[in-house]
Amino acid sequence: MDPENSRRDFLKKSIFLLGGLMAVGVAVPGGTYFLSPLWRKGEEGWLELGEISKILPGEPVKVDYAQRRRDGWATIEEKSSAWVVTDDGKKFTVFDPHCTHLGCPYHWDTAKKKFLCPCHNATFGMDGQVISGPPPRPLDQFTTKVVGGKLLIKPRSGGA
């Protein structure tokens, strides 16, 4: 190879190498930044629903609660609710208040003794199992625990 060509070849390779390094230098932090929501952990914490003495066996009880959480750079207070069911006042089942079909809020039909979602006429039993309608799975449940006579739930990360 004559000197002129090897010089040209060397410079060409140098340009690609340096340009490539600069591109990687931006692409790596940029890509990491863009993808970072994938490994960002949501806040985990127990939320207090209230005194267990107020939750009586028999009928599901809708409990409204306020939840303070970090949403990006903002701290927001969200009003949320959950359906609490107990048979004996000791063991509690807490359902996410959204239908598992398309996320509509459902309510307790006292006459029919069923959870009824008005969007597509889905019904669930008191145990959360689907009785009729399109939902693909039983009602979602929160993890619960009772501390000092108070009922606590753990919000599901990524849940509605």
Partner: protein, 225 residues
């Protein structure tokens, strides 16, 4: 890869574009100071990429602007690097574009037949100033706030149109919520659209005309010097 290039070349003659862009004849005597334009373009690309990324986590409201910038810096993985690149890139942009302009001036590159490159370039330089001015406010910190106060008050001193100009810049009588959204919109929508158009023109001119030869002693400037 080869066959794809062949396929495209057969239809669009893309190799001609490559030759026009990268295999241009370069006059004798050009050196490193002739790379400032390419460097400006490189920093512009850096600012575009990092700017888009920052916009994903920025909220242009007095309530959240500072908080969201702090979120980028401390919460987002490598957010401090991306923000740092944009911040230092901004300073580098002003510096390099200005040096590029000085090089063009002292080498007489602005002369016939390249006056249009110069005119468009001057507008690009002004837009870079606009980027700097509007971007400085966005972190909504003390420095940005008062710098914008000073900047808009300077505009207010202009005879006759001053007060109207300041009001337009601030979006009202005082510097506040509306100023921030205005500056943000100008920074991420108006100026990028303008500068992209002008950069396209500027690049078209330089590719079409080739770069100017450095002036030589005892040689009069000819039309193709």
């Amino acid at each position: 890869m080869r066959t794809l290039v062949d396929w495209l070349d057969e239809r669009l003659q893309i190799r001609e574009i490559k030759v026009a862009l990268f295999d241009r004849k370069i006059p004798k005597g050009v050196g490193w100071i002739y790379t400032l334009g390419s460097l400006s373009l490189g920093i512009f690309l850096l600012q575009s990429v990092t700017g888009i990324l920052l916009a994903m986590n920025y909220s242009p409201s007095p309530q959240f602007a500072y908080e969201s910038v702090s979120y980028i810096t401390h919460q987002v993985t490598l957010g401090n690097i991306v923000r740092g690149l944009h911040k230092w890139g901004a300073s580098a942009m002003v510096l390099i574009v200005t040096l590029h302009m000085i090089r063009v001036y002292f080498m007489g590159s602005y002369k016939y037949p390249r006056e249009l490159s110069w005119v468009v370039g001057v507008f690009i330089w002004l837009i870079v100033m606009g980027f700097g001015f509007t971007g400085y406010l966005l972190p909504w910190d003390q420095k940005g706030y008062w710098a914008t106060m000073v900047g808009t008050t300077i505009a207010e001193q202009a005879p006759l149109v001053g007060p109207a100009l300041a009001k337009l810049l601030r979006g009202g009588d005082t510097l506040g919520t509306v100023t921030l959204t205005r500056f943000y919109a100008i920074h991420v929508l108006v100026l990028p659209a303008l500068v992209l158009t002008l950069i396209a023109l500027h690049l078209f001119f330089v590719v079409r005309q080739g770069i100017s030869a450095p002036p030589e002693r005892d040689k009069p400037d000819g039309p193709h010097a």
